[in-house]
Amino acid sequence: MAVPSTGDSDEAAVAVGWQRWALLAAVMAVFGGLYLRIFTAPPPAGFASPKAAAPAMSGAGPFYRSQFLPNSTEQSVHSATAAEISGGRLRAFWYGGSREGASDVAIYTSVFSPLERMWGPERVLVTRESAQRHLQRYVRKLGNPAVGRDRSGRLWLFFVSVSVGGWAGSAINLMISEDEGETWTAPRRLVTSPFFNISTLVRGSPLQFADGTIGLPVYHEMAGKFGELLRLDGEGHAIRKTRLSWGQSSLQPVIVPRSETEAVGFMRYAGDPPNRILMVRTSDAGAHWSAPVKIELPNPNAAIGSVLLADGSLLLVFNNAPENREDLSLAISKDFGNTWRIAHRFEGDPGSPRAQVSEYSYPWIMQDQAADIHVLYTWGRSRIKHVQFNPAWLEEKR
């Protein structure tokens, strides 16, 4: 602060002194606010109890069905996700365009009717242009979507967008729907990283906490590759973050809670051989995670899907090969991930129909309220395939 050179020096000194103490008072006031924010924040809650699926209908015969989701544009499609909506329907989302990473890639949606056993026509939900208009930021391309529900039944759709560079330059955006996906809020950017808010991606489905906050498994892909669990408040702001792993070899976490405190997470492995799925565990509702360990199942640097069934069985959909994505299989664990048994091969059987691009990847899996199990995955980069089976069919595979 300038010191006066002539006259009125006492008065000026008093003024300077007053300003100095006012500055200190301002410091104390704002730090009071910061401490108040911390001490009044509610303590983190545990995982919400998973809704129990209806018991499988007694006498219902085993069934296994598969069909392709619509793709009227015959574009490249990838990375499907879905949520159960009213009437036992499924609403799926995926991205499609002339190729992965192209500027014409858009997020698509379609609804599956269990009565008609058919998917409705797909419609474009988000384009690069609409995203950048709402986000008020330049957007170069769109990527993975992931959808889930909050406790009040709203659908939360997260999707990746990139402004600069490749996927390492990604950020996550959020849209919310209160009418089962018919209409949506404008997309909003999640802030998750200190590097120009880039290099955070999403793939795994969000999960609920008992206090209404949302857990979002995400991963970082610039310099290092590692998984994180974000906790979002009711408006979708990131308010907490926990690291699932670190280093340069783990990504695309999926997290499966078993109780209010216990959960298991699986991650794609991008490190040195042996190429196997990574697993982490928490026993304090995600506040701390065990160091990642490789389980017995292989992983060719590819995404994984997992779900806990109402009967306690843990299912895992994965590429059952260490080097390629030509075999997509289902594994089952009766001891929450300690031991596994291959129950079924979705793709890769000799003689089964093959896609032009022999890649069956990015599986997503859930159990609906009627206890049926649904799997979506990328089929040859040209279609999204839907497989539906029931516990009776699975029982025959045990």
């Binding site: 500055l23 730090f31 910061l34 330049y138 957007v139 990283s193 200190p194 590097f195 120009f196 670190w246």
Partner: protein, 207 residues
């Protein structure tokens, strides 16, 4: 309807862009009228959308929302170019860039996943981080490094008000741009190429 978060973010990116252009073209060389015209032209060029987006929105796509440190330094650069007077003294500036550089060295390597420790997570509400920041701020106040004190107050107020989309205190304090500026400033100063000429040229106005 554009949210207040978006408006604040666009304003920050516009200010940053104008500061960069004004500094590169050394706007203070021109007449007062030309400078006023430049401000008006820059405001139109930065904030009026052509197509879907304004220039500020394109910058925002690359930089994200600038931290308060960046905004204060960008604002000081704008004032320097528009008035010919530097509002920030060398002593204050040196202290701020040292602090920003130290924070960046603490934050960024670990945020890249070097270890299980994630300092960025502390920004969501950590007594330790806030206490450390309080001690640094009190030390700065005691040493009459008012620029640091003002930056911390402004950043904390913006954080408490939720001015940006982020709910992480770090995002209001520093960003990669001001961190790179600080590191370059310090490295150049150590080599005596920027620090000494600046120190001679600029009379200290903040003590």
């Amino acid at each position: 309807m554009i949210s207040a978060n978006v408006v604040f973010g666009l304003f920050g990116c516009g200010l940053l862009s104008f500061a960069a252009v004004a500094t590169v073209f050394r706007l203070r060389r021109f007449s007062a009228g030309a400078r006023v015209a430049a401000v008006l032209a820059a405001a139109a060029a930065l904030f009026v959308p052509f197509g879907d987006l304004s220039v500020a929105a394109y910058v925002r796509g690359v930089t994200g929302d600038p931290s308060i440190s960046t905004l204060v330094l960008a604002g000081a650069a704008c004032i320097a170019q528009l008035t010919g007077r530097r509002p920030v003294g060398q002593r204050d500036l040196r202290a701020l860039v040292w602090l920003v550089a130290a924070a960046a060295v603490f934050l960024y390597p670990f945020a890249l996943g070097l270890t299980p420790f994630d300092p960025y997570a502390l920004g969501y509400g950590s007594v330790g981080l806030v206490t450390a920041l309080l001690l640094v701020t009190l030390a700065a106040w005691y040493a009459r490094l008012n620029l640091i004190v003002l930056v911390v107050i402004a950043a904390a107020l913006a954080y408490l008000a939720g001015a940006y989309e982020s709910r992480n205190l770090w995002d209001y304090l520093i960003d990669p741009l001001v961190s790179m500026y600080a590191l370059v400033w310090l490295l150049a100063g150590l080599r005596g190429r920027i620090g000494l000429p600046l120190a001679r040229r600029v009379p200290p106005s903040v003590s």
